[in-house]
């Protein structure tokens, strides 16, 4: 059956900003979908508020709306574009929920839009727990017995509870019905605990009802990726087994593909149930993901849940198998059947088959607990990781070793060399509680002498996996204990995933020595293809991974290659924005006639799609791995160079090592990179150009730091040297706080000094992205931050063009940027942060690389900066690119063209994901340490509307009226009066705490007083502000903190107010400039309907 001809235009809904649980895997899936649908001749309309995505590139859709993904905005897009169909199964839960709401509001019907991919009924059957349970229980005709879900009983009395527990067997899970936020639920291991928990649960439940469910904690966990077409052909793309058993969210688990510990009978039973589910739920054209648990003692299998859409696991399964799930899902959604779609990798065989792997995939999650020190570090069924890396090896040990060294975390790779100080019991206890670092604790327990059985008892991690860890550890031990480093030992170690660095530590030599010995012995990796079919058919697409085996499959080539090093796992500070730049580089360089070679290890990204570049190496981004790839590619044909400046800090820090090993680095030289990163050297560049930086110094001790602070004056900004994402940065206001900071920073020494900078209070921060080719400078854009300096640039909202900067300042920014670009020796992209303080421009820092804001600037100005940068790195000039039309013929991003939009970028914070050990949310204050996971963009012809859109897109839409609560620090009171007054004029009722209220009243603002939580007397009249927030009686909150940026103690009122705001989902503003922007946004919302406009339309203006 060919594609459908009764529809001609399709609206694709993206997933919005990157948040925990919904990351750039949906950029990968949406990009594939848009590409496929356009190839098929459909008009593609896209809505996605996230400017950092590839899918929102104007080239990927006919009409690209960077607008909030809310039912209201999406309906406006539908009204304007009148698409025939909506595809919502490739944009995560956000897209799915939006589609359901559009159905419920009648908008889909009103505009005659058909939902394709999965029907509303199928979505509901898949997502509604009770309906889904009945569907599973209805699958009775399955080989090996009817399908099962976890057994449970609904109870109304303690007698019923006890009887249910006896029937189910301890431990049991208690879930009270209709309580907020899971209050009263818990695990009961025996009758005493059960009486306790269920008793509380029964009384907490308004219907005196609790659900008693059998515990499946510690069971083996599996997933299947299933795909179905309209002819009812169903295939299983991939099976995934979790290393971490049930109890840890699969996004936070180490996972392995294919399943390792099931016999064929068990797998086929799982397959039969999976197929039964996709049919019964009725996902008729697309993919879904189904989770299973298996009791390790008797093999009893139960179904946990399904996602009736493409998911994070689908992205992983696509990269793991070479089967492009999103692309195929899009094709079946428009009517193709699987047998009509060719398998891209083999070219000869159809997509109606099940991939088979002759390698092993390991995925390891990347966490960011260091950013949230107060958060409970244990892993639960609530996802907390911010990214992931995947490794491919010919066996589990090799894949695991590669993945752990891909984590961008020095503590991730196993430490085999150091003696272990903890006892077996301590290590087993540590390993028994899932946390970031659990697998390292498991390895240490085994090293310390724990048996596989003991570790299994403590962790329930399958003994097969534990045994593989023993294999690694034994390879390491033999290597350590042998008198000589023989070729056999070295080969065995490499075969089990040990890096040169790990071997070096075991042998007490340098990594370079190990590499030298290895090369001299000819022990080098070969590269094998991911081909979907275990070599049964020849692969036409070079999607490669390294392994220590015999035969290599790197194809020879004649064209010159450019290697592009990607950015590794997403983490806070380094996310999808860098993947965007890498993907743009590969697109530009392919077009320019180079053969592009992508190196990356992040399965969520577009860069790791097998057809994004000419070749893909799914490999760790370490010096060892990149050197081997370079060696292999050099043997395959000429190499024009390696690009290190687009993937963020990860490849940048490899530049010098690679260059020293003879690798040609194109673009800004490693020496120049060092010049910008090294404080002293950069200071000289600034001095020569006559530029000013805030006063600063370097300290190796608390005494030194205090001396510096005394000289330059408080407040000071302190941070460790060489950081990305502002890790460990803090603003301190006095000696005590400074001393505390130094004491807490574990690594302060002569080699690792702490930087102490004068902090410019109330300065305006400015971000600049620019291109430099050695002669000409092209400013990509000048962004004015909305929050004052001191809030990390990644966490602050900004506006492009700048809303308050005059021409003279812009001119000075241009001069200073040119001076730095030339002084440092940039070739390609450069990002500079300035602070404007008392009419004086200070240089805060310069980064000679693609920055986080490149995609935002590119979209706001309709200029492909990363493409231009890639071409400049390979020798083109800005003058060339201007004449070819890639860059504007005259002027640049510092002087926007007539009719260009005002673009506002807003950061999206993950605060609602993290709770403290006692269950409270972590504090939400912004500071110099970056903590946002993603960003959105709002576009309009005026700042207020653009800001309002950015707030709606980031999940905290501004109210148009209602009650406004104010509580501000003394130092902010002066500046806050005007915006508060404006809001009153706009019709808001103002509540304030005592002190604030009296200041406001003195300024003629009729503020009503409200109690702080600490002022509230038990039993007395009047609600505290926290209660009002909890009751949903507050529509907007403005709260600025007293004291330092490191946050206040959890007992303080500000903290209570802010966490209540997060829980109740009330917009919360914590800076004065933010309030000003909000006032403008609210004003523009009140003025009337906000218009939506596509990027293509903006570019035309």
């Amino acid at each position: 059956m060919p594609r459908r001809t009764d529809i001609s235009s399709i609206l694709v809904i993206g997933s919005g900003p990157i948040v925990i649980g919904q990351a750039c895997e949906f950029d990968y899936s949406g990009t594939q979908a848009c590409r496929v649908l356009r190839e098929e001749g459909y008009r593609v309309v896209l809505v996605n508020s996230n400017p950092a995505t590839i899918m929102t590139d104007p080239d990927f859709a006919d009409a690209t709306y960077v607008e909030p993904i809310t039912p209201e905005f999406v309906e406006r897009v539908i009204a304007k574009e009148r698409p025939d169909a909506v595809l919502a199964t490739l944009g995560g839960q956000t897209a799915l929920n939006t589609a359901v709401k559009l159905h419920e509001s009648g908008a889909l019907e009103k505009y005659g839009v058909e939902l394709i991919g999965a029907s509303i009924e199928a979505i509901q059957r898949g997502e509604d727990r009770e309906q889904f349970k009945q569907i599973v229980l209805g699958l009775t005709d399955i080989v090996g017995g009817a399908a099962e879900v976890a057994r449970s009983a609904i109870c109304h009395t303690m007698d019923e509870v006890l009887a249910a527990a006896d029937n189910l067997g301890y431990p049991v899970v208690v879930r009270p019905s209709f309580t907020m936020g899971g209050v009263g639920s818990g695990f009961a291991h025996d009758e005493a605990e059960l009486r306790n928990i269920a008793g509380a649960g029964l009384s907490a439940s308004p219907t005196t009802e609790v659900l008693i469910e059998e515990s499946i904690l510690g069971w083996k966990e599996f997933e299947l990726e299933v795909m179905r077409d309209k002819a009812d052909n169903v295939v299983i793309i991939c099976s995934i087994e979790n290393f971490d058993p049930m109890g840890v969210h699969t996004g936070d688990s180490i996972t392995v593909a294919p399943a390792m510990t099931l016999t064929d009978r068990e797998l086929q039973r799982m397959r039969d149930v999976g197929i039964g589910i996709i049919r019964a739920v009725g996902v008729d054209t697309g993919g879904c993901n189904i989770q299973f648990a298996i009791n390790p003692d008797d093999g009893r299998m139960i179904v946990i849940e399904m996602n009736p859409r493409v998911s994070r696991s689908s992205a992983l399964a696509s990269k793991a198998t070479g089967f492009p799930i999103a692309k195929i899902a899009a094709k079946v959604a428009v009517g193709y059947t699987l047998d009509e779609i060719p398998n891209d990798i083999t070219k000869e065989t159809p997509a109606s088959f099940e991939p088979t792997l002759d390698y092993v995939i390991v995925k390891v999650p990347r966490f960011a607990f260091e950013k949230f020190p107060a958060a409970d570090p244990f892993l639960t069924t609530h996802m907390k990781s911010v990214g992931e890396a995947m490794g491919i090896g010919r066996n589990f040990t090799e894949a695991l070793g590669k993945t752990l060294r891909s984590m961008e975390n020095p503590d991730a790779p196993f430490e085999f060399g150091q003696p272990i100080s903890e006892s077996v019991d301590e290590l087993l206890l540590k390993a028994s509680r899932p946390h970031d670092g659990r697998i390292q604790a498991v390895m240490n327990a085994l090293r310390a002498g724990a048996s596989v059985e003991q570790v299994f008892e403590a962790t329930k991690i399958d003994p097969w996996f534990l045994d593989q860890l023993v294999v690694m550890f034994e390879a390491a031990r033999e290597l350590r204990d042998a008198p000589d480093l023989t070729p056999e030992l070295l080969r065995t170690a490499k075969r089990h995933g040990l890096s040169d660095q790990q071997i070096a530590r075991l042998r007490n030599v340098s990594t370079e020595v190990v590499r030298g010995v290895r090369w001299a012995l000819g022990i080098r990796p070969v590269y094998k293809a991911v081909d979907t079919c275990a070599a049964e058919f020849a692969a036409a697409t070079p999607y490669l991974y390294s392994t220590y085996d015999e035969e290599t499959e790197v194809p020879a080539r004649t064209k010159a290659a450019v290697l592009i090093l990607g950015s590794g796992p997403n983490r806070i500070g380094q996310g999808i924005e860098f993947d965007y730049s890498c993907v743009h580089a590969t697109m530009a360089l392919r077009e320019a006639g180079y053969e592009t070679v992508m190196v990356n290890c992040n399965p969520e990204t577009v860069s790791t799609d097998y057809d994004t570049s000419d070749r893909l190496y799914f490999e760790p981004l370490t010096a060892e791995d990149v050197l081997e790839i370079y060696h292999a590619e050099l043997a395959a044909g000429p190499v024009a160079g390696v690009i290190c400046q687009l993937g963020g800090q990860t490849p940048l820090k490899l530049a010098q090592v690679l260059k020293d090993a003879g690798v040609p680095i194109v673009g800004t030289s490693p020496e120049a990179i060092n010049l910008a990163e090294e404080r002293g050297a950069f200071g000289r560049v600034l001095a020569e150009a006559g530029l000013t930086a805030p006063k600063h110094g370097m300290a190796a001790s608390a005494a030194e730091a205090k001396a510096i602070a005394k000289e330059i004056g408080y407040p000071v900004l302190v941070r460790p040297s060489y950081v990305l994402g502002g890790r460990g940065m803090q603003i301190v206001y006095n000696d005590d706080a400074l001393e505390t900071y130094i004491r807490k920073a574990t690594e302060v020494s002569q080699d690792r000094p702490v930087l102490v900078d004068r902090f410019l209070d109330d300065a305006v921060e400015i971000d600049v992205d620019a291109l430099y080719d050695g002669t000409d400078l092209y400013i990509g854009g000048v962004m004015e931050h909305i929050e004052e300096a001191g809030i990390h640039s990644g966490d602050s909202a900004c506006s492009l063009p700048p809303i308050t900067l005059g021409d003279a300042i812009i001119e000075q920014i241009r001069r200073d940027t040119l001076a730095i670009a030339a002084g440092v020796g940039v070739r390609g992209l450069l990002n500079i942060q300035f602070a404007l303080h008392a009419d004086r421009l200070y240089v805060l820092e310069a980064n000679p690389r693609a920055s986080r804001t490149v995609p935002f600037v590119s979209k706001a100005t309709s200029t492909p900066l990363a493409k231009a940068a890639a071409l400049i790195m390979l020798g083109r000039s800005i003058a060339d690119l201007r004449s070819e039309g890639m860059l504007r013929a005259d002027g640049d991003g510092s002087n926007p063209v007539e009719g260009a939009p005002v673009a506002v970028k807003e950061a999206v914070m993950p605060f609602n994901r993290f709770r403290t050990a006692t269950g409270a949310f972590v504090d939400t204050l912004l500071g110099p340490e970056m903590r946002s996971t993603g960003e959105v963009m709002g576009l309009s012809d005026n700042f207020g509307t653009a800001y309002a859109k950015s707030q709606a897109a980031s999940g905290g839409p501004l109210p148009t009226g209602g009650t406004f609560f104010v509580s501000i620090a003394d130092r902010d009171k002066r500046h806050a009066i005007w915006p508060i007054k404006r809001l009153v004029d706009l019709g808001f009722r103002v509540l304030a705490t005592k002190g604030t209220a009296s200041v406001l009243r003195r300024n003629g603002i009729a503020a009503e007083e409200v109690l702080k939580l600490s002022e509230k007397v038990e039993g007395a009249d009047g609600s505290s502000i926290v209660e009002l927030i909890n009751d949903g009686r507050i529509d907007l909150i403005f709260n600025t903190p007293e004291g330092s940026s490191a946050g206040e103690s959890t007992r303080q009122d500000g903290y209570q107010i802010r966490t209540a705001a997060v829980l109740a989902d009330v917009p919360l503003i914590t800076t004065v400039p933010g309030l000003g922007a909000a006032a403008q946004g609210i004003e523009s919302q009140q003025r009337g309907e906000i218009e939506v406009r596509s990027l293509q339309d903006w570019a035309k203006r």
């Binding site: 080989v143 002819a231 009812d232 052909n233 295939v235 299983i236 294919p258 399943a259 390792m260 510990t261 099931l262 016999t263 064929d264 009978r265 797998l267 086929q268 397959r271 039969d272 390790p296 003692d297 008797d298 093999g299 059947t337 699987l338 047998d339 000869e348 065989t349 159809p350 109606s352 088959f353 099940e354 991939p355 088979t356 792997l357 002759d358 390698y359 092993v360 010919r394 066996n395 589990f396 596989v452 399958d462 003994p463 097969w464 045994d467 023993v470 294999v471 094998k528 079919c533 275990a534 070599a535 049964e536 058919f537 020849a538 085996d549 015999e550 035969e551 499959e553």
Partner: protein, 377 residues
């Protein structure tokens, strides 16, 4: 890993060195690769692998050990076994012992720690060939000389090695619907199980059973199983099958049974370059247009026109199933006066190991039998 070094030599002279796995010693056979990621126990015990050295493309083998339920026959049939990473420890609640212990106990010579993907690509590009594995000599020229002395698979008659010695009955489950005689050419135990589950009494008989002996069971239909070797050599069973068709008895064949069906109808069989062995093969049922994911294990196939029916003395034969990967004939149907009387598939609906998508074929056979039974009443 402290096992003995082992040597593997292909008949074209390519050499791989690895470690001994399973029994020590020396073995020879035709090298084939199987791409199934699960089901090594079923594969090893499948009589169709008689005479073949099997390579598993999945790197980790032995993870679930060896259990007492999943064998497809009473013993391991492969001539040798090639894996990359044997599991040091099995982990599965049904596991009774380690795979390498089982291989050793049954005297199966294997090799591990070789580049199985390189070997697979070699066979894919150059076709199946003979192979030798040895722990007794590490001199590749010596082993090569022995490899080239081995018989070829084309022309090999191996059915006699694998068939049952005596008749046995697998009784119908539930209400009995009909009686079938299943000719064991290397039958897998899941096949009579599947037939019996549909209410059929299954009399499994040796390969050399004559048509007259078959009739003594008063069967409603006849079944020919899978099996090893070159179908062109199975002259006796083909003759029996012609008599079955002549008598108008319903027939169902699997794998070897499909090839013999083709030959009985006057179609030719040929050897594939490297065969189909795996559990992920897409086959389209041309009657329904539906694609099923199927288990395959065949080195030979039937030549038949895909685009039209071929008249035979027994009726019109059409190609009912095709492998979507390479258009190989995967099923035949014989109709007389438009009515389905006999059919066969080249792949494995009994699916052990493998997906259950093609299970409906057993239903189809049972339906043909009971329809006929009703007609007779």
């Amino acid at each position: 890993m402290s096992s003995l070094p082992a040597l593997l030599v292909l008949e074209d002279g390519r050499v791989f060195r690895g470690r001994s796995y399973g029994a020590a010693g020396e073995t020879f056979g035709e090298l084939v690769f199987s791409t199934g990621m699960s089901g090594y126990q079923e594969t090893l015990t499948d009589p169709s692998y008689r005479g073949q050295v099997v390579l598993m493309t999945a790197p980790h083998i032995g993870n679930t050990g060896w259990n007492d339920e999943d064998g497809e026959s009473g013993r391991i049939w492969v001539q040798g076994f090639i894996v990359r990473d044997p599991a040091p420890r099995p982990s599965n609640w049904r596991s009774r012992r380690k795979l390498d212990d089982e291989l050793r106990d049954q005297g199966i010579v294997g090799i591990s720690d070789v580049d199985t993907r390189a070997l697979t690509r070699h066979v894919r590009d150059r076709g199946v060939m003979r192979v030798g594995i040895s722990t007794e000599t590490l001199n590749h020229e010596e082993l090569l000389a022995k490899v080239t002395e081995q018989p070829l698979m084309a022309g090999a008659d191996l059915v006699g090695d694998v068939t049952t010695d005596t008749h046995y009955l697998v009784p119908a489950q539930g209400v009995k619907r009909a009686t079938v005689v299943a000719v064991d050419l290397g039958i897998k135990s899941m096949t009579p199980t599947q037939l019996a589950a549909r209410g059929l009494d299954v009399h499994v008989v040796p390969a050399h059973t004559t048509f007259e002996q078959i009739l003594e069971f008063e069967p409603d239909g006849v079944f020919f199983s899978n099996g090893p070797g070159d179908p062109a050599t199975a002259v006796g069973p083909i003759e029996v099958l012609r008599e079955v068709l002549k008598a108008g008895l319903p027939y169902f064949g699997i794998c070897f049974g499909n090839q013999l069906f083709g030959r009985a109808l006057g179609l030719d069989t040929y050897k594939l370059k490297f065969g189909h062995r795996g559990i992920n093969q897409p086959v389209i049922d041309r009657t329904t247009g539906k694609v099923e994911i199927t288990a395959h294990n065949h080195g030979f196939a039937v030549h038949a026109p895909l685009d039209h029916a071929t008249p035979t003395e027994f009726g019109d034969v059409t190609v009912s199933h095709i492998c979507l990967n390479d258009d190989v004939v995967e099923g035949l149907e014989l109709r007389r006066d438009g009515e389905l009387v006999a059919f066969s598939v080249q792949y494995h609906p009994e699916a052990a190991a493998g997906p259950h998508d093609a299970n409906y074929l057993f239903d189809r056979f049972a339906d043909v039998l009971s329809d006929r039974g009703m007609d007779a009443d």
